[in-house]
Amino acid sequence: MPDASAKEAQVRDIARRWLASGEVRYVIGYAAGRGNVARAAFVRRAGDADRLIWNPTCVNNLTLFLREEMLRKLAKGEKPDPRPIGIVVKPCDSKTVVELVKEHIVDPARVRVIGLTCEGVCDPKKLVGTEVGPHAVTADTIADKCTVCRLHNPLMADEVVGDEVPETVEDDYSDVAEIEAMSPEERWAYWERQLSRCVRCYGCREVCPLCYCAECVFDREKPYRWNERTVQLPENLWYHAVRAMHLAGRCIDCGECERVCPMDIPIRKLNRYLEKKAKERYGVEAGRSAEDAPTFGSCDVDDPEEFIW
């Protein structure tokens, strides 16, 4: 893909420029990984900027590392460095940055964003068994999240790489509607089948850029243990329902939870359902603008309440 390599060169140029002038501490970007997924690179010297890549293996959401940096406590004797962090984001990842700014985790003055326009990346799970290396994005390899993506141009970017892509796709939530159309018994059977597979590796939690509680409820022992460690269905059900509620109205559908899930649980279908409902009921959408009020941090006198007596 000629387009991708041109963008790659631009990303490297910008990173090199920022690092050479010393205006950023380091740049978080993609580097070639083993297998069909890129890995995160932390480029600290201008000379290393050529490690950065851009191709359809860049599926991961790097804002996780930005958040970790923002929440990190300084080491003993470490002086705070006021310079911002540079980060390479796809449009979907840029929504995470917006959401993190909205939640006052990321100070916009402390981040410089290289935003790439994007027309989809490959799903590594769909490439299992094929030759390792960047594959073209085709209907067979494209990640599911990209087929319903409504944002092909980055938000909040200091530098935009790539030409503007027209927004064509309208998300009809058909994957969610499929489950909604089932009878309650079928829905329960479906989720029972899916969630009983969960091994509770907590991969979905660890990789989620918006799961950042200092102490996670699933780790708590004192004063009360909320969740047992067994992988039986009731505990798994509790875990996934609570996790979904914690992300209700915040999830920006970067699809990382589903990508890392070793048991292929359709976690996005839970998140997307609440995303859909929050939009229908309250007109809120995560990651649209940092000026928006948070879903559960705001309320309206006229919020629907048809089930309340």
């Binding site: 079928e186 009731p234 839970l270 309320c299 006198v301 919020d303 089930f307």
Partner: protein, 143 residues
């Protein structure tokens, strides 16, 4: 589903201190009859009720969970019940989506002067939960 007629549902009620708990008190002092299935937990505001509490109550063996607070606009903390309404509505939706009988979870607005309404709500909700039978999805076994 109820195998024998002696089965009675366990219902956990989260009542707000300012309206519903006082309303329940009024139902008591007015000698109103309502089912004894409800176990009341007093919270300072319906906005205090985390969706986690409800799911945890189910896991600990509750057959139904009732959350009751002040009427919209009457909250002692101005907006607590509006916030509760958003969270709990989405939780109700999620339960429906996951096929976990949303009928086991109910929210109601009961003011301090509505002892009769509290009795009505508890009666109606107990009947609704009774019809659904024991809750086993979160407990993982026979109730």
């Amino acid at each position: 589903m109820a195998e024998n007629d002696s089965w009675e549902p366990k219902i956990i009620g989260f009542l707000c201190n300012w309206c519903s708990y006082t309303g329940a008190d009024l139902a008591g002092t007015s000698r109103l009859q309502y089912p004894h299935n409800i176990r009341v937990i007093k919270v300072m505001c319906s906005g205090r009720v985390n969706p986690q509490f409800i799911l945890k109550a189910f896991q600990e063996g509750a057959d139904g969970v009732l959350v009751s607070g002040c009427h919209p606009g009457d909250c002692h903390y101005i907006k607590g019940n509006y916030h509760a309404r958003r969270k709990l509505t989405l939780l109700h939706d999620l339960m429906d989506y996951m096929g976990i009988d949303p009928g086991r979870f109910q929210v109601s607005w009961v003011s301090a002067s509505e002892g009769h309404k509290f009795a009505e709500v508890v009666t109606r909700f107990t009947e609704q939960v009774k019809a659904l039978g024991p809750q086993t999805k979160f407990t993982g076994g026979e109730a």
